[in-house]
Every structure is written in C-alpha cells, then in structure tokens.
Symmetry: C2
C-alpha cells in the first residue's frame, strides 16, 4: 500500500500548508475545503482526463462571466450550493419568512412605485395585484420597510436580459404605518436558466431540466431587522418539485388567485382578468455580531 500512503502524505501536506494562515477562520475554511476536495478525488479515484475536464469547465465558467452574466453563480446554483448557503445563514426562528436564492437579476436603484402603482412599466404579461404586510417575529407591523420586487415577464425574461437599458417589472415601495404594501406587477411564468454556457452542458449531461418554477423576487429590509431575500412561488406550477436551483420552500408557495373580471382591490374596474397575490412577510430581529 505504498502508493495509497503517498496519497495520504500529499493530502496531509496540503492541509497542513494552511496551518499558518493569517486568521483562524481562513485556516478553518481552507483546511476543510482541501479535505473535502481531496476526499472527493479519492472517493471517485479521479482520472487525469476528468481532472482536466474540471479545470477546463471552471476556466470557461469564469471566462463567459462578465458584467451581464455570472456563470459561476449559476454553477453554484445548480449544484445546490447557493441554496444551502442561504439555508445555513437564514434566521433560525421558524416564525420568520424563509429565504431563498438571490439570483442574478437584481439591479440596484430600482424605481419607487407608489401605493397601487404598476411596476411592470410595459413588461408584457397578465396583470397581478400584490399586497400584504411586513412584521417582526413578535407580530408588530414594520412601518417604512423597503419592499424591493423584481420578476420575469410573460416570455420568462427579466428586463436586463433584453438588449436595451429599459427598466421594467422591478421597483420598490415602502410599507405604510400599518406595515402594508400594495402594487401591480405581471404574473410570473416558469422559465429556463441560461443554458448556452458550461452550466448548460452540465445540465444536459445530467439530463436535468433547466426550468425554474414561476416566482416573484422580494428583498425586504428595515432598520433593526435581518434582510430578507426570497421568492414567492406560484402554487400549481408543474416545476415546483424540480426547480433547477433547489430554491423552493413549501412555506414560500403563494396562492396567485385568478379573477376573470370586475373591480380590483385598488378600485380599478377590469374588463380582462387579473391575478391577485396576498402574502405577509415576517422579518427576524437583527442579532448583534459577537466579537
């Protein structure tokens, strides 16, 4: 077993090379990373060709990334690492609304949309009225919470995926004194994540679907509370059990109710149908960092 011994010697040397790291945390993280990376290679008896395929895959994932695309995040997403990291770091209070993946389509400085305003701004899709409350885990409403919303249009595309600088179907609103918000958007539809890069090759080799179930993105922030980054998924979506990025949590499936015609909650009279989503969010109280 001389050569198995050689492998052990190499792995131990790689782990201990981080003994003198500049911080305890750096040492802890890197030594665990090396141990698991080597454990993976040992477990599958990684071949040279597989090692090279991995090197080339990661290199290309970096090279196709840029200001409008982050393939390495997408890779992390489809391996479940992004969602696992979200779950590890979310508040542990079961009363607090669950978190899910941030995704690559958030944009800073979205427009503010007034009460009952429409953040679609021309994005094609069925109208959807969204309302609800933001409160703390102790139950009291949070006034002035920033409710940031973004979503895909009926073609499954976000504004940033078009060849234009148009801003559509994204915006923010502040909750009123009762902690409530109300706005129009368009009804989300399921869509595929981008499959024209290395991540797409991986999904095809694994015979996995690139589809994500329909959802609206929410980021809710308020002083004294933990930021909440989440989606509200559409109940009934056929992809709820096979989200390409493992983002679905049962508590985040919302009832998007169809109304064929009539008077909408904002008082507008609708000849065509609209959807309505009511969802109440609960934020965790901010915990002071120790140390």
């Amino acid at each position: 077993m001389e050569y198995d011994d050689a492998q052990r010697v190499i792995s131990e040397a790689a782990v201990s090379s981080f003994d003198g790291s500049e911080s305890d945390r750096y040492r802890t993280v890197m030594q665990a990373l090396v141990k698991h990376l080597h454990g993976f290679a040992e477990e599958v008896q990684l071949t040279q060709a597989e090692w090279m395929a991995g090197i080339e895959f990661l290199t290309r994932a970096g090279q196709v990334s840029g200001p409008r695309r982050q393939e390495m995040v997408l890779l992390s997403d489809i391996l479940g690492l992004s969602m696992l990291t979200v779950a590890i770091n979310e508040p542990k209070d079961p009363k607090v609304t669950a978190s899910t993946v941030f995704g690559p389509f958030f944009v800073e400085n979205s427009p503010m949309v007034g009460r009952d305003g429409d953040l679609a701004q021309g994005a094609p899709g069925e109208p959807c009225f969204v309302s609800g409350t933001v409160s703390g885990s102790e139950g009291s409403p949070i006034a002035g919470a920033r409710v940031e919303v973004w979503g895909a249009d009926e073609d499954g595309l976000y504004d940033v995926q078009y060849d234009s600088t148009r801003i559509a179907n994204r915006g923010h609103q502040y909750t009123d004194v009762a902690g409530t918000f109300r706005f129009w958007t368009v009804m989300p539809v399921p869509y595929p994540i981008p499959t024209d890069g290395p991540t797409g090759e991986l999904l095809r080799a694994a015979r996995r679907t690139p589809m994500r179930p329909a959802h609206l993105h929410f980021m809710i922030t308020a002083p004294g509370y933990e930021d909440l980054i989440t989606h509200i998924f559409v109940d009934g979506d056929p992809h709820l059990g096979s989200d390409a990025v493992f983002g679905v949590r049962p508590s985040l499936i919302g009832d998007y109710e169809f109304n064929p015609s009539g008077t909408a909650p904002d008082g507008s009279v609708r000849e065509k149908g609209w959807f309505e989503l009511k969802f109440d969010f609960v934020l965790g109280e901010e915990v002071d960092e120790v140390g």
Copy 2:
C-alpha cells in the same frame, strides 16, 4: 431542528438531481462532488460573504487564464489536487519511477537534441550534464524511448515566460539500443510560481511560500509502456520540504554533482565547473483498458 432539516432536504435534492445522468460514471463523479461540496459548506457553516468571495475568486481565476497562463491549474496545484490526481493514477508497481505534476510550462514540438547535445540553446545558467537509462519494470532497457526534457534557466524562468517566441532549455532525445540518453542542459534553480493572480492572494492569506524546489522536467514515452511525467529534484534544495505544489517524492531527489573543472563525460574539456546528474528511469508496462 427545522432548519437543519431544510439543509438536509436541499443537499439530498442536489445529489438526487444527478440520478438520471447520461452515464454511470458522470452520476458517480457529480454526486460525490455535490456531497463533498455540501459537506464542506456545512462543516464550516459557510457565510454568504465567504460564498461570494469564493465565487469571485474562481471567476477571476478563469478570467486571467489564457493561451499563456492557466490559473485554474495553478490553483489545483497549490491545493494539492493536481498532485493527488497524479498519485491516484500512477502505476502501482513500486519499481516504476514515481510521477509528479505536469506543470504549465510544457510545449509541444520541442527540438530534437543529439547525443551529448545542448538543449539550453542560450538559456543562462550553469552547465549540467544529464545521463541515464530508460528501462521496463522487468529490467530490460527500452531503445527508442522519447525523453522529453524542459527546465527553468538560472533566473527561474522558462522560455515561454519571456516576451519572445525563443525556444530554450527544452528538447527531446531518443534512447539508444542500450536504453541510454545523454545531453547538456542548465542547472535548475528554485523559483516562485506566478503570484500576480488570485492564486498569489491565496498563498499570501495562508502565509505560504510560492517557491518550488529546483527540478528538471521529464516526460518519457515508449510504445507499450505507460507515459511517465515527472521531475528530478536537486538534493540539498532548501525548499524540498515546502514545495508550493506538493510535487516532491523522496525517490525523485537526484544527486546533481558539482565538478570544478576538467574533462566532462562527453569528452569536452571544461575550464569552468559543471554539474552532473545520473538518473535511471523505469516505465510501467501499458495495461489494456478494461471495457
């Protein structure tokens, strides 16, 4: 423990998403990769900031890579993954010369150098005469084996690291009927791996040396035998115990003997000193792939 349960659900879903992979091997490799990746994140309780730092690090490693630089290989090297993969895949016969990392400085179509010829071709450094034999593990010499050699000059640089297309200190020779080779090169010196990219940041954060102990690269190939990719290190080098890429094997440390003046093995009379390395290589017999 509802939230630990959520983490388990995510990890199990990510693993089982590869159940339908196009091949058994793809499923095996990817499921092990996901398990170890998630095991790492769980073990260190990876923070969102650390996850993002890792994403950005890998993205930049891909982006600085190109025809003349492969940062992802360098990263694999300093994590010991390259060397571990070498050890996993080398022949398990202890009579066969040990393998080590390929490194990023091999170039195809090197010049042929005749018996007692000089492959330095103007590369600066102390002259070094290298001779030895190539044989099979049963002991018989291998005639016509291709002995490919490359090395750094006295400044620790390979020809491809200069801004020119000059080819220097690399070449190949075929063994004679007795399985022997003999050529001149320059004495190798220790040198740092490139530290101006993400890999350099990692080494600094870990307070690790970028130095590699002095070595000559050999790639020896012959029909019917396994390719041998290895180095011969210089005995006495102060970096033998801290190779940045974990490539040192005790059996690959060679005695580079200094001769102050006189007649060299090729009959040339030398006014200045030269080094001499004798090393005999043993190749493993090629094994037919099963299946």
